[in-house]
């Protein structure tokens, strides 16, 4: 049995213009020690899916489906029960390290909190564990840094502190929602390397959310490509990088600048913009921007077709998409 099994997960946000389906019928599994990358452009529902897992969605929203974590459906849990799981067995790192720490408490205090909360540690135990954690995430002079306030640390150091908080209770699953987007490129690499190492050493499962394909390719075993709230392509990282199938995935990869191809022409863009989540087509969400779209695409949701073992793509025109080069699709 998988550690995490998400079945038909949908998130419906009620907005002033009507219900918006931020996530629709998402399915994936995650085993212990596995890493999953969720990739897609802004507004495709990546973060909403992550928040749904944590049970932290805004109040004006509805979550349907099943999130089975260690044999229990998280959607059936009360808020008090979720508090026992959050931070303890499921932990999350956020995008913005500059604002994710409370300015009025020392970083040590903020790392000690989950330890006292979930582990019932005494102040002394929590303090020495905190120093160990700070050392673990690569902060120099952890004994002095414990008493620092967040404004005394740099962005990279604050993200390290956030990682220390997330790791404090040795969670089963770590969810990292664009953990390096707000950081310098040089720091990005260090932070990802740190997350990667810690996840491997602690045997945790990782869900890494990013719009950066480079980040995803280097750090994950499996990939889930999202568009308009639904998964368009899933599979092993190597499989997907070997053969891109779904027109959206192809467009996404083609839109990435590549070294050595400079000056040879303009970057490929996918025409159109991200669809309005309130008025999505009832079929494939990519219909309006897809060069292969037909009437069938608009009205019938495409089934997930297994192209090679464990590599699924949701498209009505898989063969056409496979047989064309990306340059022909988007030109």
């Amino acid at each position: 049995m998988s550690l995490l099994d998400v079945k038909d997960l949908s998130v419906i946000l009620s907005t002033s213009e009507g219900p918006a389906r931020a996530v629709r019928n998402l399915n994936f599994r995650l085993n212990r020690g596995e890493t999953l990358g969720i990739v897609g452009e802004s507004g495709c529902g990546k973060s909403m899916a992550a928040l749904a897992l944590m049970g932290l969605l805004p109040e004006q929203s509805e979550t349907v489906g099943e999130i089975t974590f260690d044999g229990q459906n998280l959607l059936d849990k009360t808020d008090a029960e979720m508090c026992q799981i959050r931070g303890n067995r499921l932990a999350m790192i956020f995008q913005e390290p500059m604002t994710s720490l409370n300015p009025v408490h020392t970083v040590g205090h903020q790392i000690m909190e989950p330890l006292r909360l979930h582990r019932n540690m005494s102040d002394n135990q929590a303090k020495s564990e905190t120093i160990r954690l700070l050392d673990r995430v690569g902060i120099p002079n952890p004994k002095e840094r414990v008493d620092n306030y967040p404004h005394q640390l740099s962005g990279g150091q604050r993200q390290r502190v956030m990682i220390a908080i997330a790791l404090s209770c040795q969670p089963d699953i770590l969810i990292a929602d664009e953990p390096t987007t707000a950081l310098d490129v040089t720091i990005q690499d260090q932070i990802l390397e740190l997350i990667h190492t810690l996840v491997r050493e602690e045997g945790m499962a990782l869900i890494l959310i990013s719009h950066d394909l480079g980040v995803i390719s280097e750090n994950t075993d499996n990939i889930l490509v999202m568009y308009g709230g639904s998964a368009v392509e899933t599979g092993g990282t190597e499989q997907i990088f070997d053969e891109l199938i779904h027109p959206y995935t192809q467009g996404l990869f083609a839109a990435m600048p590549k070294l050595g191809r400079a000056r040879s022409g303009r970057l490929v863009t996918i025409p159109g913009t991200v669809p309005d989540l309130i008025s999505l087509p009832s079929g494939c969400t990519f219909t309006d921007r897809c060069p292969l779209a037909t009437d069938m695409c608009r009205n019938t949701p495409p089934p997930a077709i297994e192209v090679t073992a464990n590599h699924f793509a949701s498209c009505h025109h898989i063969d056409a998409a496979r047989n064309r080069k990306t340059e022909e699709l988007f030109s």
Binding site: L117, I165, A166
Partner: protein, 283 residues
């Protein structure tokens, strides 16, 4: 580390002129109240008709009133009364109001609706009128005027707290705290309250001044502190009939009220400068 912080705190206090001036004025009032507990230049209670309307002298610093009581002593003793009323009334508003505001922000939904509509409702009545109504029902007296002023303070604090607490709830570090498994109650006291404390302190200082003013108004109308306890408001009232005979009798208590209110307002303003790190960083 902590020495650094306290040093910069003292420096910031010194640099804020309104904090220093307001602090000195408030400290002066506080001193008057404390000294009057043990000693007053004359008697604020003894009626000696033979000594009425004496001009200021060594024995009677500010002269005497129409019953021969020492005005300086009455003012000093009246300070006690004003401070006690203001402290208790503001505390009532502070604890209940802040509690309700935090609850509204933490629970949202119906709880918030009910608490906030209820404070809107009580705001619809002019404060002094509802205080008069309350003392009219419960009967005049010091305790009832405290209660009336305290009740008025509750929605003021509730609104302020809920508004600022909501803006903190929307911050990312609260989301991060929730992600680490903290419940609403815990987040409220660990993350929300410390971040809005300075706003509440400033508001309390300013409401303190308003409470002193309100107490004086109620006493002036005969609904607050009852004789023979001296009170600034009632001194004003008694001096009213003697405006042309001895105007100083009205000017002294009026001046005392003005100093108290002005000093506390300055202090509140200064505290805002001192406690708000966003403003101080610019200097």
């Amino acid at each position: 580390m902590s020495e650094d912080r306290s040093l910069s705190f003292v420096n910031r206090c010194r640099r804020s002129r309104s904090f220093v001036v307001g602090g000195v004025m408030t400290a002066f009032l506080l001193m008057c109240a404390i000294v009057s507990l043990f000693w007053t230049p004359g008697s604020a209670y003894d009626i000696t008709i033979a000594n009425r309307f004496l001009p200021p002298s060594g024995a009677h610093w500010l002269g005497t009133d129409q019953f021969g009581r020492d005005i300086a002593s009455m003012l000093m003793t009246g300070t006690q009364n004003s401070i006690v009323v203001a402290v208790v009334a503001v505390s009532i508003g502070l604890f209940i109001g802040v509690g309700l505001g935090l609850l509204a922000a933490a629970k949202r939904g119906w709880t918030e609706e009910i608490i906030m509509r209820f404070s809107d409702f009580s705001f619809a009545f002019p404060a002094i009128l509802s205080a008069i109504m309350l003392t009219a029902i419960l009967g005049p007296g010091g305790v009832n005027s405290i209660l009336a002023i305290g009740l008025y303070n509750i929605p003021v604090f509730a609104r302020l707290t809920r508004g600022s607490a909501n803006s903190i709830w929307a911050r990312e570090f609260v989301m991060a705290a929730r992600a680490s498994g903290k419940g609403r109650f815990r987040i409220t006291f660990e993350h929300i309250l410390p971040n809005i404390l300075s706003i509440i302190i400033v508001q309390a200082t300013i409401l303190f001044a308003i409470a002193i003013l309100a107490e004086a108004a109620l006493s002036y109308l005969g609904l607050g502190t009852q004789p023979p306890e001296p009170s600034w408001g009632r001194m004003l009232n008694e001096a009213q009939t003697l405006m042309f005979l001895d105007p100083m009798q009205a000017i002294y208590p009026g001046f005392a009220i003005a100093i108290a209110v002005f000093g506390l307002n300055l202090l509140g303003d200064g505290l805002r400068d001192v406690l708000d790190p966003r403003l101080s960083r610019k200097r």
